[in-house]
Symmetry: C2
Subunit: 334 residues, 2 copies
């Protein structure tokens, strides 16, 4: 099994479960011979869904889990009480090293809590940040942290910068990733208490390519490869990215349907425009890793498509091949 990767996919998580996660898993299996999938969830439901497909049966197994954690459930309670849920069962396999990674479109809160308490943090890592890739004019940047760990301390942000750099260098292939801290002005003396305390600490890190403050305006232009912020701000950035994009695109579509003239024009520009808008669609980029854990946990959108699930599975393979967890471990060894 050397060179291969074993990924547990949460078959019960997301708006279109089990159809979408099952489809994404099968697409990944068919596209790549070194992937092994465990589908965690209600056995009968998964079997019924699998019946629709032809697939390499020797590389897929069902891991039974009878319970389902709903999005609205308080995460800590859900993880504690639903021991036979797909999220708990799947993450336990990662902790026991029976699988390399866990991919879920289910409750973000439960996946994050499970990552910390079931899979567990690498020694020395104070917090495990959720770090999605976001599209920019230059390609992709890593936004770290967008998780549930609000009210971070400066030392957390420094760790985010380090883990983000390792990820961008080894997974995305960016040489000396530029690290910027989200701030409300470019000058060192600007910012809130957290940013002012973190700034000099980042400057001291000789292993980082710290380029200073980055204003939110510059993020979509791709002014930093690793965009460091605490989770509340990161969450606002991620969701506003989606919101502004969606509203603007719907307004553009509306204006293109406003007259016969514009409708004719729309027919001509549509194919090119569609590609452009797709490249800037934040929800298309295969899931966000929870970094700093002993195994990999990837959170995909609740509304993720089968392609996003498939890409998340491929990300798990790359994560294992590049030994990201080991590199973080070395970096944080005390």
């Amino acid at each position: 099994m050397s060179g291969s990767v074993r990924v547990v996919v949460d078959a019960m998580g997301g708006d279109h479960a089990p159809q979408v996660p099952v489809r994404g898993a099968i697409d990944a299996l068919k596209e790549s011979g070194d992937i092994y999938i465990c589908l965690a969830g209600v056995k009968e439901t998964i079997e019924k869904e699998l019946d629709k497909y032809e697939y390499p049966k020797d590389r897929l197994e069902i891991v039974p889990a009878s319970q389902i954690i709903e999005t609205a459930e308080p995460p800590v309670m859900a993880i504690r009480s639903k021991k036979d849920s797909s999220i708990v069962v799947g993450q336990t396999m990662v902790r026991k090293q029976e699988a390399d990674a866990f991919v879920s479109s289910g409750s973000t809160g439960a996946v994050l809590v499970g990552g910390q308490v079931i899979v567990g943090r690498i020694k020395g890592v104070e917090r495990a940040p959720l770090a999605p890739l976001i599209p920019t004019a230059r390609g992709m940047s890593l936004l770290i942290d967008c998780g549930a760990n609000v009210d971070a301390r400066p030392s957390h942000l420094v760790q985010f910068a380090k883990m983000g750099s390792i990820y961008m260098e080894n997974i995305v292939g960016v040489d000396k990733p530029r690290v910027g801290i989200v701030n409300i002005g470019a000058e060192e003396e600007k910012g809130n208490a957290l940013v002012k305390e973190t700034f000099p600490l980042l400057k001291e890190c000789t292993d980082l390519n710290f380029t200073g403050s980055i204003e939110a305006r510059e993020i979509p232009a791709g002014a930093a490869d690793v965009v460091v912020c605490e989770a509340f701000v990161g969450n606002v950035i991620l969701k506003l990215y989606e919101g502004v994009g969606a509203t603007l695109i719907s307004k553009i579509k509306e204006s293109m349907m406003s007259s016969l003239r514009t409708k004719m024009g729309a027919m001509l520009v549509k194919p090119a425009l569609k590609d452009t808008l797709r490249s800037f669609d934040i929800s298309r980029h295969g899931g966000a890793p929870l970094l700093g854990l002993k195994g990999l946990v990837v959170k995909t959108h609740g509304s993720a498509s089968a392609t996003e699930i498939k890409n998340a599975i491929f990300q798990c393979r790359q994560f294992k091949e590049q030994e990201i967890a080991e590199k973080i471990k070395e970096n944080f060894a005390v």
Copy 2:
């Protein structure tokens, strides 16, 4: 002079001073007979610019100010040391009630500091928030606070909600403005320490139409009329709004110029598309008021157009007519 408004315009502030502020002031004068303008700045420079125009000379005067505060100067120091700058001279006129309002495209920091220390806060107002109108799918929302007062306390946010509601009701004409607090989830128990403490305080305010948490994703859709947040988050929202919009629009333009076919299509959709994009351009909406001061201070973009300056001047008239400062004063009377 009853019914009229007297506005000091900073003739030296912004990327295109004195041309743009002078032009904006003259346009306002010509369009409305009840506006009186004082142009603050270097006398000879302003005179030379005024020579280009025909305008109602009885409603415009020059207020000499020999110094200029540059954008890069530390604001507190600049306000203290440059007593004869257009920003200090203009705001001093507002404090002395020689003018109703001050409009500037100059240094944001200096304008904000000057507002607090020169014009001064209304009794009971703990902090003066900067509150720009932002475009949404439903019209406009007020984003409060985007200023320089980071690390706010819950009581500040409650005051922002109240001042914002008064503004939206009386200036924008929204009946019972919906107040939302920016959060990372819809549930009351979510959020950082600041939001969790502020939430119950807002719920207690019977004079507010508090609708709960608002996720950043919902802001562009217009899910709240008054979007309450502390300044760091507000600044990130405002600038990301600009950034995502600008990047997306430049990508769309690029894709439309990619082939002969798309170029032909672009010609047909261009006029309608231009109107749409303009309606969503955050920089076109006439300046952001600094609320809670004894007089009005309006900050316009450094790159503001003459139309933005003109609209900011009209906003000053409405602010006076609707007695916003008096309404805030009543609301905050202890």
